[in-house]
């Protein structure tokens, strides 16, 4: 099976940003995403979404360029006021061209 090297960008953030970030991913050329309900702690405390299910983790497999764009956008719009962590690592993807 041919494997393509792409990037897995992982975002963990407040649940309230969920739909916004999905839009952000799509608008920057992401072809898909996977969302998990998670809990967590970091440098910021209180969430307004105590009632709504804590944090979400959004993972998206993208090309390097799309990944960079997504990261930049998140940094610009959400880093200042929201609880969010973003990291990326290379992954080998089957049928990788579907996701570029």
């Amino acid at each position: 099976m041919k494997l393509t090297e792409l990037f897995l960008v992982t975002i963990v953030t407040e649940r309230i940003l969920r739909d916004d970030l999905v839009d952000l991913i799509r608008d920057n050329g992401g072809k898909g995403y996977t969302i998990t309900d998670v809990e967590g702690e970091g440098s910021r405390g209180t969430r307004v979404s105590d009632f709504e299910g804590k944090n979400v983790k959004i993972e998206t497999v993208v090309s390097r360029e799309v990944g960079n764009k997504i990261i930049d956008q998140i940094a610009e719009h959400y880093f200042e006021n929201y609880a969010v962590i973003v990291y990326a690592n290379p992954v080998k993807v089957v049928r990788g061209d579907k996701y570029i």
């Binding site: 309230i16 405390g45 209180t46 969430r47 307004v48 979404s49 105590d50 009632f51 804590k54 006021n81």
Partner: protein, 318 residues
């Protein structure tokens, strides 16, 4: 005094205290998130339905003035709250408006607890009050979010926040329930009554157990909130309560109805408002507004406020 004590031995209030205790002793008791959500869907829909069924048998003239009173208080209370926070409390615009939005809106659980309390005393507050809860939920938030827009251009997305409030699950369920109950009327409602009426008080006990646990987490934030906010979270609700009693009695509500109305108006939202404020005023601190509405005002109202409003309403209206 006795009626105050009777509030403390209500299963609802004691379940709330049990929830706090559970967290204080670090019990592993945990309320599954989906159950919490399901209970709140159930409670909101049930209030709406019951209110709607009642509305269907109420004359328009009976509730038109209470409606006017509700809207008026929905507009005035966030403005007062903002002024107090900004000019006496020296909070910045975002935080003052963010907290004000919570106090302009309403806590459905406080409303339910007030109804239960009144009923436990043998009173029967007006059946259409849930319609007022739905009415009171939205305008206060909108008014408060507008303030920073008017003073300077607010940074967050007010449009998104408005959509969030107006289509929020509590409004959909309350309003939807009202309409369904109204159209169904008492006869069609009967088969679903055991579920929505019979089970209501018990479900509320579970819900308050969980609210107690959530509140306990807030108590840790009390220090960060500061003394001013602590005072604000108790004194302002009392003032709003008295205001609501006067306006409520004037608008034709019964004594019991006015006391429930007071609990409603004095309460701070902790579901609809936080989500909207987080979006519209991202710089406002969730610690401040959640601690105020959920950590201070909610426990105050549920234990002392509700019997107090009833007492005052009896004085004023007797």
């Amino acid at each position: 005094m006795e009626s105050l004590l009777s509030n403390f031995t209500s299963p609802i209030v004691m379940a709330f205290v049990l929830g706090i205790i559970a967290k204080v002793v670090k019990s592993d008791l945990e309320f599954p998130q989906p159950i919490y959500k399901a209970l709140s869907i159930y409670l909101l829909l049930a209030i709406g339905l019951k209110g709607g069924v009642e509305l269907s048998t109420t004359a328009f003239s009976d509730f038109i003035w209470p409606v006017v009173a509700t809207i008026a208080l929905g507009i005035i209370t966030p403005l007062i709250a903002f002024a107090v926070l900004r000019y006496m409390g020296k909070f910045d615009i975002s935080n003052a408006a963010g907290i004000a939005a919570h106090y302009g809106s309403v806590s459905a659980v406080t409303f339910i607890a007030a109804i239960s309390y009144a009923e436990s005393l043998g009173e029967s507050p007006e059946g259409f009050l849930p319609a007022l809860v739905a009415l009171l939920e939205v305008p206060g938030i909108i008014v408060a979010l507008m303030i920073p827009q008017i003073i300077n251009s607010g940074s967050g997305s007010i449009k998104k926040a408005l959509h969030e409030v107006v289509t929020g699950s509590s409004i959909i369920l309350l309003l939807g329930g009202l309409v369904i109950g109204y159209l169904a009327g008492p006869v069609s409602f009967e088969p679903v009554a055991p579920f929505f009426v019979g089970g209501f008080q018990g479900a509320l006990v579970l819900f308050l157990l969980e609210l107690g646990m959530i509140t306990a987490r807030r108590l840790g934030d009390l220090k960060k909130a500061g003394l001013f906010l602590l005072g604000f979270g108790i004194v302002v609700p009392i003032l709003f309560g008295i205001l609501a009693i006067i306006v409520g009695l004037w608008s034709g509500l019964s004594i019991a109805g006015s006391s429930v109305f007071a609990a409603m108006v004095s309460s701070g939202s902790y579901i609809a408002a936080p989500a909207a404020v987080r979006i519209a005023l991202p710089k406002a601190s969730p610690t401040l507004y959640l601690t105020a509405s959920l950590g201070i005002t909610f426990p105050f109202n549920i234990t002392l406020g509700i019997p107090l409003y009833y007492l005052i309403a009896t004085w004023f209206g007797g």
